[in-house]
């Protein structure tokens, strides 16, 4: 009798504790959507399907990990899709035309794209152009470069076998490497946010930039680093896509920037900055992915998909915002 009561109490407490976490909303949404698809489609809950979903979304996921950090610092980057495309095309070009090994080409591409991030950051932070506008402009420039370099055609990459195995292929005949890169990026992003002084400063800067400045936190530097990290992540993601597919098109990644923002916000990151979490962003990416996948399994046409995904995004965010408001 006694222990029964106690258990009851504990469950209530546990539920309260879970609900008070900022990931609660996205977690609940994730469970509801998953359960719906598990019931509706027997093909959904199979390891093959789930791994497939993870692989498909890993390119977006790598970018989301760092877009989350950037949004927490209260900036945006609409150029990640373009950087993603540029990186693939650039790597394809330098591996086939210049004969560089992909082991050199990938770091080189990340370096070049980091410069794009630096430009985005400098224009937004020092020249005080809202980053929404800055990156809208630079995204056109960067995609334009990708189109120019490739002549508008797909570019194939000269990828070595080991490189393919580690970045695009399957390891141990079971798990796709891109999934590991996705998980790795999420873990790294979470580590940066939670364990490093930089992560702390990102929260402080995004939460109250003036107060952070007054407390001697180098807010401008923090934001610029966040821009550079985001561009570097998009470049890495572009390299991984090239490795997996063997080629890159200059128009790939169109709309990736908005998917990335959507996943981040579904995951409970405040659009105005200052709060958010990597676990939430991770769940946000998965929600977007399983909804797409589940709708395909249910036989929804491609036009229906966008419509439903849009509705689900809005609902997920409503749940999230409501729960967050209540906890505050």
């Amino acid at each position: 009798m006694m222990s029964g009561n106690k258990n009851n109490f504990n469950i209530k407490e546990l539920a309260k504790l879970l609900l008070s976490k900022r990931e609660a909303g996205v977690f609940i949404a994730f469970i509801i959507i998953s359960v719906f698809f598990i019931i509706q489609s027997p093909a959904f809950l199979t390891s093959r399907n789930l791994l497939n979903v993870m692989r498909q979304t890993s390119q977006l996921g790598i970018v989301v990990a760092f877009v989350t950090i950037l949004i927490i610092s209260s900036e945006f980057d609409l150029s990640v899709g373009a950087v993603f495309a540029f990186s693939g095309v650039f790597m394809g070009f330098i591996t086939t035309e210049l004969g560089l090994t992909p082991w050199v080409a990938l770091p080189l591409s990340i370096l070049v794209c980091s410069l794009f991030g630096l430009v985005n950051g400098t224009i937004s932070v020092y020249l005080k152009v809202p980053s929404f506008i800055t990156t809208l402009g630079t995204s056109m420039v960067i995609r334009g470069l990708a189109l120019y370099v490739s002549g508008g055609r797909p570019v194939s990459g000269n990828i070595t076998e080991t490189f393919y195995l580690i970045t695009g292929g399957r390891l141990w005949n079971f798990i796709s490497s891109p999934i590991l890169w996705f998980l790795g990026a999420m873990i790294l992003g979470g580590f940066i946010l939670q364990k490093t002084v930089f992560g702390y400063m990102v929260f402080a800067t995004g939460g109250n930039e003036k107060a952070a400045h007054f407390a001697g936190i180098p807010t401008k530097k923090i934001k610029i680093i966040a821009f550079v990290l985001t561009a570097a992540a998009a470049a890495l993601s572009g390299g991984i896509a090239l490795s997996y597919l063997g080629s890159a098109t200059p128009t790939q990644g169109t709309g990736m920037e908005l998917d990335a923002i959507a996943a981040t916000v579904i995951g409970g990151t405040a659009l105005m900055g200052g709060s958010g979490s990597m676990l939430g962003a991770f769940l946000g990416v998965l929600i977007m992915a399983i909804v797409r996948n589940g709708l395909v399994l249910l036989g929804a046409g491609p036009f229906m998909q966008d419509l439903l995904i849009g509705i689900i995004i809005v609902f997920a965010v409503i749940i999230n915002v409501q729960l967050l408001q209540r906890s505050e």
């Binding site: 002084v197 107060a211 007054f214 001697g216 936190i217 200052g274």
Partner: protein, 500 residues
């Protein structure tokens, strides 16, 4: 002349435990200029906001033609003929002067569906000419001076043909010439059938234009007197009160001043902020007060020393060595701390918890190869929470869950954690309850025993009287005087704050 236009009856307003207005009875006579004076926090703004319909009184009402009225919103107050020109008048800087004047009442709206701002120019010119001012109606507001913007605000308020117009500290942000012009304009309003209430800190101005003068102190209306029957000294006495101050400190103030000068400021000017040629020094263990009314340049001075604003000319030296401070990071590295005045806007991270708020200024200290030293953060936070008696004593509590006083103590701890040599406190006890006020004052007093030099900016004169070894008095960006020891008295300070 003696017809009564509005009558405030027993108006009472509380904010939490503080009584902002306590049974205020005030009569406004037709076509008079009614001066309203009082120190910061005396309740002037609250009274104006009640008349303007922005806040509702807890008790009491306004009597208009023997009808009891309480304004629920600004438009109700407007309908009863009241217009208020607030100290910070909201205007559309992106529009022209003419558009701003007719923002709410548009003379061409009824006749035409299409909008043509040029049609506003002629009536705007006329309206401005009625006030005797010459501003081009097609000029954009953002390129107007503060004084011009104010004229536009007044012109706009007059468009509604108010019976009664209230000016809230209209002279605090404009130059002496402009003040005289403004006073002339205000003086002419009763002739045109508009009754005026004029609120100011500056007694000369009040004396110059008012027919009658009301004095508020600690939320109470002390008296309303005819201007010719009261001297300047009478009014100061009414503002300050007879029993000099209700002391909040329990212990006696102990002075820890040493002879060594820690910081010296020479010929400091900041052109954009209007700071002119400021000279002073700060000794080890000293509490140096900075008094002055809002807009006198106190926070601006602090922020210029702290490197938030770039100084135009002048030197700052620490321990006799001239230093160059370009940003807060450099200021902190040199041992200067600055607790800003607006806790919510400039201090708190409402998204973070207590310890994360507390360590914000010591990021180099809590970092080891870029990693956060969580144990160290906990240790430092716990130590300060204990020292300052912060409640609840929980380092992981959300900062927003704390009371204002405890939030302020966390911010104070943020700067104590820096181990500063010079600590600038900007209104450290504003917006906290009486108990916390006393605790914070005690902490400040104790601080100096370790040799920290404290610069205390405060609008609460008892606080300055009680704590400070010396006090600077600022007025319109200039240092008016330095008061020492027994000279630091309320009426003395008010004299320098308010005279021109």
């Amino acid at each position: 002349m003696s017809e009564i236009l509005y009558k405030c009856k027993n108006i009472t307003k509380k904010f939490g435990a503080t009584v902002a207005l306590d049974k205020v009875n005030l009569e406004i006579k037709l076509n008079e200029i009614h001066g309203l004076v009082g120190e910061n926090g005396a309740g002037k703004s609250t009274l104006i906001k009640i008349l303007g319909g922005i806040i509702k009184p807890d008790q009491g009402h306004i009597l208009i033609n023997n009808n009891k009225t309480i304004f629920k919103n600004p438009s109700e107050s407007e309908q009863k003929g009241i217009a208020v020109v607030y100290q910070e008048f909201p205007q559309c800087e992106n529009l022209t002067v003419a558009e701003n004047i007719f923002l709410s009442k548009n003379p061409q709206q009824k006749t035409s569906f299409f909008y043509n701002k040029k049609r506003l120019f002629e009536p705007a010119k006329q309206a401005l000419a009625n006030l005797g001012v010459d501003i081009a109606p097609d000029k954009y507001l953002k390129s107007c001076s503060i004084a011009e913007q104010q004229m536009v605000a007044i012109c706009r308020a007059l468009q509604k043909n108010p019976k009664f117009i209230i000016f809230d500290e209209p002279t605090s942000a404009i130059s002496q010439n402009e003040v005289e012009k403004l006073l002339e304009i205000i003086k002419s309003l009763p002739e045109q059938g508009t009754t005026v209430m004029f609120v100011s800190h500056i007694i000369e101005e009040i004396k110059e234009i008012s027919d009658r003068i009301s004095v508020l102190r600690n939320g109470k209306l002390i008296d309303t007197k005819a201007n010719n029957n009261s001297s300047k000294e009478d009014i100061v006495r009414m503002m300050v009160g007879k029993n000099v101050s209700s002391r909040v400190l329990i212990d006696e103030k102990k002075t820890h001043v040493k002879n060594e000068v820690i910081m010296e400021v020479k010929n400091l000017s900041q052109n954009d902020l209007g700071l002119v040629d400021i000279n002073f020094n700060l000794k080890k263990g000293e509490i140096l007060g900075v008094a002055g009314i809002q807009g006198a340049g106190r926070s601006e001075l602090a922020q210029t020393i702290f490197g938030i604003h770039k100084k135009s000319t002048g030197q700052i030296s620490l321990d006799g060595n001239q230093v160059n401070i370009n940003n807060p990071i450099e200021a902190i590295a040199k041992g200067i701390g600055y607790l800003p005045e607006d806790r919510n806007r400039l201090g708190l991270f409402t998204n973070l918890n207590v310890k994360e708020n507390l360590v914000a200024a010591i990021t180099p200290k809590i970092s080891k190869k870029g990693m956060l030293q969580k144990n160290l953060i906990n240790e430092i936070s716990q130590e300060h929470i204990k020292d300052l008696n912060i409640k609840p004593p929980d380092v992981s509590a959300l900062i927003t869950a704390l009371s204002g006083g405890n939030q302020q103590k966390v911010l104070l701890a943020r700067w104590l954690a820096v181990n500063p040599r010079v600590l600038i406190l900007d209104e450290p006890t504003r917006g906290v309850d009486v108990g916390a006020k006393a605790q914070i004052r005690k902490i400040i007093n104790k601080l100096t025993s370790s040799g920290i030099g404290v610069i205390l900016i405060s609008s609460e004169l008892p606080e300055i009287e009680e704590l400070c070894d010396r006090t600077l008095v600022m007025n319109r960006g200039r240092l008016r005087c330095v008061l020492k020891g027994d000279e630091i008295q309320k009426d003395e300070i008010i004299k320098y704050c308010t005279s021109l």
